[in-house]
């Protein structure tokens, strides 16, 4: 992993309709050096994802409006490398697994243990960076094969960076 990714602040999107919970969770994460954005619904989270890039989203499964599984699906449509951690109540985990098995990075049982959540966020972040860089490298190689001039190359790379949120 190169410096670019390891030194970066991890950008976390928290999505839960329980505002008080998010208040304390975000305060703790902020103090530990994470960049945190809170959304109180799936719809709000999707809007947020259109505006800025995130590395990891922590999404509650059960929310009024669009639920956690659908939210993470749409978030990943907007930001394909975004890793989603879905928080589920006891017992809903099986149904959640059925509907969004491959897409979520991990399912965690509520109430989550904070330290455990932080560990999983870090793991999710690493996966995101890895996938992103692989794809970035792939596309970079492709550009090189096309035999662009240095200026065109620079422009294309800048374009890629924008897409990947580097």
């Amino acid at each position: 992993m190169n410096e670019q990714s390891t030194n970066r602040i991890i950008r976390v999107l928290l999505v839960d309709d329980e505002a008080t919970l998010l208040e304390y969770l975000s305060k703790r994460l902020l103090r530990q050096g994470y960049a945190v954005k809170v959304s109180f619904s799936g719809e709000e989270a999707i809007e947020a994802a259109k505006q800025e890039h995130f590395d990891v989203a922590v999404v509650d499964l059960k929310m009024p409006g669009i639920d956690g599984v659908e939210t993470q699906r749409r978030l990943r449509e907007i930001q394909p490398f975004l890793q989603c951690i879905v928080l589920t109540g006891h017992g809903s985990i099986e149904s959640a697994l059925e509907s969004g098995h491959e897409e979520a990075f991990q399912y965690l049982l509520k109430p989550v243990d904070y330290d455990n959540l932080v560990t999983v966020i870090k793991e999710a972040y690493e996966k995101k960076v890895r996938l992103q860089e692989e794809k970035f490298q792939e596309q970079l190689d492709e550009l090189r094969h096309r035999g662009m001039g240095p200026r065109g190359m620079k422009k294309a790379i800048a374009e890629l960076r924008k897409i990947y949120g580097f």
Partner: protein, 386 residues
């Protein structure tokens, strides 16, 4: 002459009729006899006062007496409560054609046989009552199944309510955990806090987080119980799990003079089962044993944990010399939310959950307890799951 002839003809006809009636009667009797002797039900007949005059083979099977033993005795004396039987018996004589009621009879060996009884008045041609016929069906098993079903139903209902409550409690619990975690961070970063206050606050925060953790495990246990997740099977040494369970409770044992005596068979005892679930059960049993000894007041005692193997099973017994369990409570201790501990000390979940776990792992729990002497809980588990 003519009249003589016609008389003869008449006589012949009557004779023929009589013969055919005789056959018919014979057939009817055979038919009735067949029903009487082959019915699983107890069918009896009495004279007007309730003295037995006939008693079917089904009755012999049901109550263990031969007809010879019973003919001439009173039917009411076979009932567990002869007086209430007598009341029914008398009421059956005035009320409609048949009267039905459930009444317990007593088997020759002493067991109770619950029967659904129908009584019918036996009339002669003049319309006078000459006795009573009774048909009794054994409904002991049926009643038991019915009671079990009610019990299962109740348990399911409690499970549903409990899991609903647990779900609801989980959210505020999560907030308490996060808020206290946040407070902990603020405290550890705070400047100008005097060291003693800091220590107090840190201790309080730690306590809050410890207690929310406890609540979390209760709600999860409860939800596990209500939903029943599948066990995860691996191979491990059951002695290790027993030792770990004891070690887990060391802090609790430290302040007592309770001795834990392990009598394990030599060497490791490998078993294929779910170690986490078993540890939960063992910790629960040992905790109960500690409580039972401490409730005795003298704080001295011994918990003996033994292992044994047979061809296909492992037997683990937990024996304590604590207060023991009264016969009445022995029936209830596997019921959800039943606890003899003081409020706040016991949830009434430990044993039913343990039983559920052991059942899931294909084993059984047996209980042997004497008030004032102690309790022995034995778990039998298959060496490997199929």
């Amino acid at each position: 002459m003519d009249s003589n002839k016609s008389l003869e003809a008449e006589l012949k006809r009557v004779k023929q009729d009589l013969a055919s009636y005789k056959i018919e009667l014979h057939q009817t009797r055979g038919y009735l006899q067949c029903i009487l002797q082959n019915s699983q039900d107890m069918i009896f007949a009495t004279e007007t006062g309730g003295m037995l005059v006939s008693f079917s083979r089904g009755g012999e099977k049901l109550l263990g007496y031969s007809p010879a033993e019973l003919i001439g005795t009173y039917i009411k004396d076979l009932a567990e409560d002869p007086e209430s039987f007598e009341r029914f018996f008398i009421s059956s004589q005035d009320e409609g054609p048949t009267v039905q009621f459930d009444i317990p009879f007593r088997h020759k060996k002493g067991d109770t046989v619950l029967c659904n009884v129908s009584l019918i008045n036996l009339m002669n041609r003049e319309g006078q009552r000459v006795g009573t016929v009774g048909v009794c069906r054994d409904i002991t098993m049926w009643k038991k199944i019915q009671e079990d079903l009610v019990q299962v139903d109740r348990l399911a209902e409690i499970g549903r309510i409990a899991s609903g409550v647990a779900h609801e409690i989980n959210n505020p619990l999560a907030i308490i955990a996060e808020a206290s975690g946040w407070a902990g961070m603020v405290i550890s970063d705070a400047k100008g806090l005097n060291p003693e206050d800091r220590k107090e606050l840190e201790k309080a925060i730690k306590e809050i987080s410890h207690q929310t953790g406890r609540c979390r495990s209760i709600t999860h246990e409860l939800l596990d119980f209500a939903r029943g997740s599948a066990p995860e099977l691996t191979e491990f040494d059951i002695h290790d799990i027993l030792r770990e369970s004891i070690n887990f409770l060391r802090p609790e044992l430290k302040h007592t003079s309770i001795e834990v005596d392990t009598q394990f068979i030599p060497g490791p005892l490998p078993i294929k089962s779910d170690p986490k679930l078993l540890e939960q059960v063992f910790v629960n049993f040992i905790t109960n044993a500690i409580h039972a000894i401490r409730s005795k007041g003298d704080d001295k005692g011994c918990i003996r944990i033994k292992t044994l193997t047979t061809d296909s099973d492992v037997e683990i017994s937990f024996e304590d010399n604590g207060v023991g369990i009264t016969e009445e409570n022995q029936k209830k201790i596997f019921q959800l939310f039943f606890s003899t501990k003081a409020p706040g000390k016991g949830t009434g979940l430990g044993l039913p959950i343990s039983q559920n776990i052991i059942k899931k792992l294909g084993g059984t729990i047996s209980l042997d307890s004497k008030p004032g002497v102690g309790t022995n809980l034995t778990v039998r588990l298959p060496l490997s799951q199929v």
